[in-house]
């Protein structure tokens, strides 16, 4: 196992480089010019725009720009946003806490709904609980987040006046009140994302548990007189967790990447919003930095998932 791990880690570095090259090329080829806005202004002489382009190295060939970017990245210089004229890492740091908090909380919510509900549904297939849970799950992932978001706003903000719907990264309150206000404003976006995610995860958990629950060793365990609860938690769930681990690992990078639609609806200043506004403004350094971190996280979490498979199911052997 440790040899496998070592090998994977060693491979991770060139694979990350390869991915970063492809990402960079895609961004370079995508239509868009960060200084297009300057061109709107008929009074800015074309020479000025041209001078800026050379200064930022936009006229060099793609591979040269990639190398510059790579070298800078290795030195810890993440680049300079064309649009905001700040360092990219500053932009990302500003938005990281909010993103981690909101998206992270939603994933936790999703998991805490999906696991129990999925397991219970599977242990009582086609019962009333199962039917209701399934229906709710289907509704959950059939409705897009822009729709449920607005629905929640209409119900909780506008009709009931319980919750504010514009997210503020800086709350004026302090102490105990701060936590309360933070909870109030985060409740809806976290619920929207968490329920949407939890709906599809519930289905996966249910399916995975159903696959396992009919196996012989479960029957044996029951025959041994172990309580149903212990059977489920100690024998069934662990073996059913493989698809769940896969999914959670696939979703983890999104905790960094944010959720574009939800951030837009609730005006959350997260990294998803940064990404989309940078893409539309052709602010390549920001897009590159965010996607690169995202790529690192993807590789990292998929590696963790692979390792966990081995732990969950000892029969899986990596050679």
């Amino acid at each position: 196992m440790s040899r496998y791990l070592l090998r994977r880690l060693l491979i991770a570095v060139p694979s990350l480089l390869g991915i970063s090259l492809v990402l960079y090329t895609v961004l370079a080829l995508a239509p868009g010019d960060p200084f297009g806005e300057l061109a709107t202004n008929p009074n800015v002489p074309p020479e000025v725009a041209a001078a800026l382009r050379t200064k930022f190295g936009l006229d060099d060939p793609v591979w040269l720009r990639y190398l510059h970017w790579l070298v800078a990245m290795l030195h810890g210089d993440w680049g300079f946003s064309f649009v905001s004229r700040v360092d990219v890492d500053q932009l990302i740091w500003q938005r990281l806490p909010v993103t981690l908090f909101v998206i992270g909380a939603s994933q936790v919510l999703a998991l805490s709904i999906a696991l129990p509900v999925g397991v219970i549904s599977a242990t009582r297939p086609y019962s009333v609980f199962d039917q209701i849970a399934n229906t709710l799950a289907f509704i959950g992932f059939s409705l897009p987040t822009f729709f449920t978001g607005i629905l929640f706003i209409l119900v909780f903000s506008i009709t009931l006046h319980w919750l504010p719907f514009v997210f503020r990264a800086d709350l004026a309150e302090s102490g105990w009140r701060w936590y309360w206000e933070e909870f109030r404003q985060a409740a809806m976006p976290v619920a929207v994302l968490g329920l949407f995610q939890g709906a599809s995860w519930t289905r996966y958990v249910r399916s995975a548990v159903l696959d396992v629950i009919r196996l012989d060793y479960v029957t044996t365990a029951r025959a041994k007189g172990i309580s149903e609860f212990a059977v489920v938690t100690k024998h069934v769930v662990r073996n059913a967790l493989i698809p769940v681990v896969t999914l959670v690992a696939l979703q983890m990078p999104a905790v960094f990447g944010g959720a574009i639609v939800t951030e837009q609806i609730f005006r959350i200043p997260g990294i998803g919003a940064l990404l989309i506004s940078s893409i539309l403004a052709n602010d390549t350094p920001v897009v590159m930095a965010v996607t690169f971190v995202f790529a690192c996280l993807v590789i990292l979490f998929n590696l963790i998932a692979d390792v966990l498979y081995g732990w969950l199911d000892p029969r899986i052997a990596y050679r």
Partner: protein, 317 residues
Amino acid sequence: MFFMAGLTLASPTAEPPPLGSAGRALYVSPARETWWRFRRHRLAVLGLAILILMMLAVALGPLVWRVPINDIDFNAQLSGPTWAHPLGTDDLGQDVLARMLYGGRISLAVGLAAMLVAVVVGTIVGALAGMSRGAIDTALMWLTDLFLSLPQLPLLLLLIYLFRDPLKQLVGPELGVFLLIVVVIGGFRWMQVARLVRAQFLSLREKEFVEAARALGATKWRQVVRHILPNSLGPVIVAGTVDVAAAIIAESTLSFLGLGFPPDIPTWGRILYDAKDYLDIAPHWALVAGAAIFLAVLSINFVGDGLRDALDPRKVM
């Protein structure tokens, strides 16, 4: 005879094989058998019926219900269900039923096609990776990681700008956009299926029944198709249903960015998007579209459940 619930039997079905005219056991092909088992799953049959009904409705409906989809009538704005407009009207007074039927063709087609692309590609990649383990596994997982890291939006923009016009000229505007959207949406969802299938394969290939098959001389191909794949379909089927909903919704996100179908084509996702600002004024408009997506997802899921149970060698039907 059954002693307790959960007892697994060695043979695929609990019944004795049907006897032919000569009194000998009749050979039934696996496909036929699967269909028989499927038929016994009531909900699956119901799901299939709903799905077929929906497809017929969107295919033939516009021929029967001849109200035009873009007949603007300001006197009938946002009205609830009436005889003239059974599902009400939208903010321009256009008939919602007609728009749902017309847009349903596209939504269902996009949903199913994109889902098929994602599921087929994902299963193939996942199966290959799970079975081969060495360099191929690493290479395929690298590819999967690459696609997972790709920022969807810039790639989408790039693809659409590159291919929109050539495709338009090649196969016509509607089909061109349709192909592009299906490839794009399906292309961003296969990775999840691949990882799930690979995980299943990694676990299943070590199980005794596969080892037994190997010992009996089954080729790798036969191991996969006959033994491992049918058992790993659980997550694939769930992914299938989730992907249909996701594809229909993704299409509406694309048109929200101006990259999908033209704004006046009433796909279900688009109707939902147009109706969202009127939720407190005219909820029927959004509910209809949401319900349609929900029904499509529901029926596909039941079909999937039935398929899974029919294919599961251990399940007693």
